[in-house]
Symmetry: C2
Amino acid sequence: MEPIRPDLVPNPAVRRLSFYLRQMESFQRKGLATVSSKQLGDSLGFTDAQVRKDMSYFGQFGHPGVGYPVEEMITQLRHILGTDKTWNVLLVGAGNLGRAMLAYRGFDVRGFRIVAVFDADRNKIGKKMASLMIQPLTALEKTIAAQSIRLAILAVPAEHAEEVANRLVEAGIRGILNFAPVTLTLPPKVAVNSVDVAVQLEQLSFHVNFPALEPSGQS
Amino acid sequence: MEPIRPDLVPNPAVRRLSFYLRQMESFQRKGLATVSSKQLGDSLGFTDAQVRKDMSYFGQFGHPGVGYPVEEMITQLRHILGTDKTWNVLLVGAGNLGRAMLAYRGFDVRGFRIVAVFDADRNKIGKKMASLMIQPLTALEKTIAAQSIRLAILAVPAEHAEEVANRLVEAGIRGILNFAPVTLTLPPKVAVNSVDVAVQLEQLSFHVNFPALEPSGQS
């Protein structure tokens, strides 16, 4: 197999990698050793040509007529996505959304662990949320350094999101999952993923408006 | 202008429409009357060819050297996305995430209004969350019919998501925004948008793993 060149993988393909990984894990649970690009594509609503192209970023994977080796693909996908190790994640915002994130059971299995919670509200600082003490934003630098944190979940009101995001970046955070319905302007070295729940609903209203269309599926 | 053919718009393009709309609104706030495909593309990290192709689904929009008319585009994008009207939305799950959704300030401006809350927990039923009385799932059909609800937000534990989703569909829901980290198997007439927060973090860990790459931007 050729060496992996993750720097050649375009962003939309990175998103598909997450879906390939989940699907490969599903195939593994079903006891499959290899799957074809058509099987993988069909299961996710992608063409097999798309699958083959995405897989080609990893070098020579699978063989015509044999298919992709499920276990090896899982190992490689986890490695390239970075989830073959554990990531310490910090959370800013000890409100309802923050509380929901802390209770979210989908993180652990992916190697994400929320290890610190911050809030600007003096009434919340010092109190506990789950097993974590809510810290003031002034403790960001110290905590980030002490726990080698690179990822943050931003669950603060829209009007504070930009300011807090900038503090996070200054303190060493390199990836931000943003729930505030605002566009963050941050240095290019920082990766931002914004979950705009209204955009998600808008995609649904489009499909409900035009029910003759193919449904959007699970993406 | 040719008639709009929304049935020709592929799914990834529908997602981009939401981003175009937000960017056009931003241009409008800045007082711009027209923008070029390059301006629009640059602002969102898409190529101008991509923008022109997406816009072509709407028929003849804009002219070479003149650009796209901002106000008209906003009207059209809202129309095709269905957000030129108000959508009644129901919420299942009166936990922390549900509470956060009910408080989310990004919905109103997009025409989404959570008008009913449901939960399976007897201890929650009958109590109030914000101004809404938490209803039992047995009231789904009646409430959906009475309030003409087609969209639902599913904020329930993973192990209940599939069952509740099926009840929603039977009761008339046609679009589901799912927060549970499970893949829902539903009839093709139903549009599903799953927000898997672990997938979102995984995209960030990829970029933090390989900082030489272009950042993912706001998508």
